[in-house]
Amino acid sequence: MRPVYLAVIASLFCTTLFAVIITQAVIDPYLEDDFTTVNMFNFYENSKDQNKIYLLGDSILAAVDPVSIKKHLADNNLSYNIYNMHSGGDTPKHRIVELAKIAESKPVAVVYCIEYRSIKPDDRFDPLKLETDWAFLSDRIKLDSYMKSLFNASELGIVQKDPVSLLIYKKRFFLPAITARLAQAGLINATKPIAETTYNHEHTTSSTKVADAAAVHRLALRQEDFTLPVWIDEGDNNNKRALNYMVRYLRDRGIKVILITMPVNPVMLSEVSNYTKKNYIDMIKALECPYYDLETTLNEREFMDHNHLNHAGAVNTTSRIADILVREMGNVSA
């Protein structure tokens, strides 16, 4: 063979080899350190705690304090570790990507804190969220055939990349990884993403901000994708199917499932139609699992914006969730 052909083959081989080495040496550690969802998967895989309860939900759940809940349970002679596994923008269809990992980590119970947006028709499956969070976990994500049926082809292409696509996908983090290491070494100024690793530290937000009711009302009337109200009909959609499947999947594996509807800003709630409320409740009832409705438990002054809790709202909601768990886990212990 001519030398130049050998040179090209050698070069392609070496390039691939170096690409794999650099990915493993530089990029993977960066992803392990700096990405919330990677850390969440690491947590699920490594957690040996036999007495754990997961709180699942979106950014509204972020303010709920797992430490206070644990203390309240302990005061009632219940010994459980509470982990707040909130994830911004969470929906059942998002969360089902983690379902196998959640089940394998063997929690005693899962509390899924949902709201109307959780089961809206999934006409918006945020590719930005998936691309930045799940694509590089695709070698660790386990989906059965039903779970796969909930995603379209391009969504599946993101969460189930083959090794070559995954290697090429990860290369986008090479420069951020270098920047992060230089920042760590103090050589440059750069903000480093903060990724949680423990999930059971104090969460309660210290914000005392109160949402401007008029601004919230204007937002409610705009009916943007990220806000309430949504329109939920009686038909099926992939978020409803995902929630249904999650509840059955966890229950079949001996994991208790509790559903809680999180508090809704009264200004937003006033724009939710009775039709939507009825379809939401009908869907919840069909799941046949313990359900608690905290929808109307907070007033407008306990929200910092159209849906996130401020400090007062967080303390109130944490206390209510703690009471729910005392009631439910007390039954389990008995």
Partner: protein, 391 residues
């Protein structure tokens, strides 16, 4: 390729092929035949370029000029046309260059068609350099420059100036990168075509710049428009007029919006002034010429880039009256310019491609590996389309 792309390609190939055959068959009527060939070629190009709502077929500006150049050479008796419609079609639709050029000359193509000498090492060297230019330099600069030019009114003088220089380098690396890839593929197939760029940002006069930038287009315009218009043989006033006309056509070749015409006329004016003002050949004047020329060239890129007149006016004001630069910025700028001037003598007009591709095979392998790794790691996630594919 869409059906429209194919249709346009077939039309140009057919009209130039049959036109060439007819010119040989009826030499007395070759003038009128050529006129018809040029009319149809330019007409279809103008229709796609200047009629709004009609999508531009890919590569139309390039293969139309290639076909017309071929026919004009046949008319002038400089070339015998091929009788094979297949060979003619292969020339018009030569795949490596169809998207963004360079504009090939028929004599270069047909002269090598039946005695090609594939050179894999040189070809891969060209492709690798092209990949780095396009996917590492151009696409990363685009991440900086594009947001600024999308909403320039939000930015001040410093950002506009930096974005202009970034765009100029982006444009060179994008277009030059593609051309290197195209020439590299052609080299692997056995065709050795002339380079389309020769270190244009080291040019020390507007005339020198156009001997180094998009050489295939500038030489085409020289041979098939400037010289037939009389070139510099019809008196001084006519020469200046010809320069402006040719460069106006060059601007319009790029696009139908006013900024391209202004850009073309602007360069016509620069060439015209260059003809009147010749700096002495000393080193100091050579450096001064380089700095002035490049300043004017990059000013021209601002006109080229910003199509909206009100945004262009704003950008020009910010470019021409620099503000907001710190001492560090100025010091860095001086260092960069000094480095360019120092490197200039070392690299200008050197055939770096030949030097790299004829080096020892082990060193070449290491360079190729490094190049591929750099392209893999540093290229941005989303690739920008080739800029000159839009012309």
């Amino acid at each position: 390729m869409s059906p429209l792309d194919v249709m346009s390609l077939v039309l140009v190939a057919a009209i130039t092929y049959f036109g060439n055959q007819l010119m040989i068959g009826c030499p007395k009527r070759r003038g009128i035949i050529l006129f018809f060939v040029v009319l149809v070629s330019v007409g279809q190009l103008a229709m796609f370029k200047y009629v709004s709502g009609v999508p531009l077929p890919i590569g139309i500006s390039y293969y139309t000029f290639m076909g017309m150049g071929y026919s004009i050479d046949v008319y002038r008796g400089k070339l015998q046309p091929t009788s094979s419609p297949i060979e003619h079609a292969v020339f018009i639709a030569f795949l490596p260059v169809i998207v963004s050029g360079p504009i090939l000359r028929a004599k270069d193509f047909f002269g090598q068609l039946h005695n090609r000498v594939p050179d894999l090492q040189r070809g891969i060297t060209l492709i690798s350099i092209g990949l780095i230019m396009k996917f590492v330099i151009a696409d990363n600069l685009a991440l900086f420059a594009d947001p600024i030019f999308t909403t320039p009114l939000k930015f001040g003088s410093r950002e506009i100036i930096l974005a202009t220089f970034a765009f100029g380098i982006q444009l060179y690396c994008d277009f030059g990168g593609y051309c290197n890839i195209a020439l590299g593929v052609a080299q692997i197939l056995g065709f050795k075509f002339p380079a389309n760029f020769n270190m244009p940002y080291l040019a020390s006069s507007p005339q020198d710049f156009w001997h180094r930038w998009n050489i295939s287009l500038s030489s085409w315009l020289r041979d098939y428009l400037y010289i037939p218009l009389g070139g510099n043989r019809k008196g001084e006033l006519r020469t200046h007029l010809n320069l402006i006309i040719v460069m106006a056509v060059c601007g319009l070749w790029h696009g139908s919006t006013l900024n391209f015409l202004v850009w073309g006329v602007y360069h016509g004016a620069l060439l015209s002034v260059n003809r009147l003002v010749r700096l002495p050949g000393s080193r100091v004047f050579s450096i001064a010429g380089l700095l002035i020329t490049q300043y004017l060239v990059f000013l021209g890129w601002l006109i080229f880039r910003v199509r909206d007149p009100s945004k262009l006016a704003y950008c020009l004001e910010k470019f021409l009256v620099p503000t907001g630069f710190s001492i560090t910025d100025i010091a860095l700028g001086v260092v960069v310019i000094a480095a360019i001037l120092l490197a200039r003598d070392a690299i200008i007009d050197r055939d770096l491609i030949r030097e790299i591709s004829t080096t020892k095979i082990s060193y070449w392998t290491i360079c190729l590996t490094a190049a591929l790794l750099i392209v893999y790691l540093i290229s941005p996630v989303k690739y920008a389309p080739f800029i000159y594919a839009g012309f």
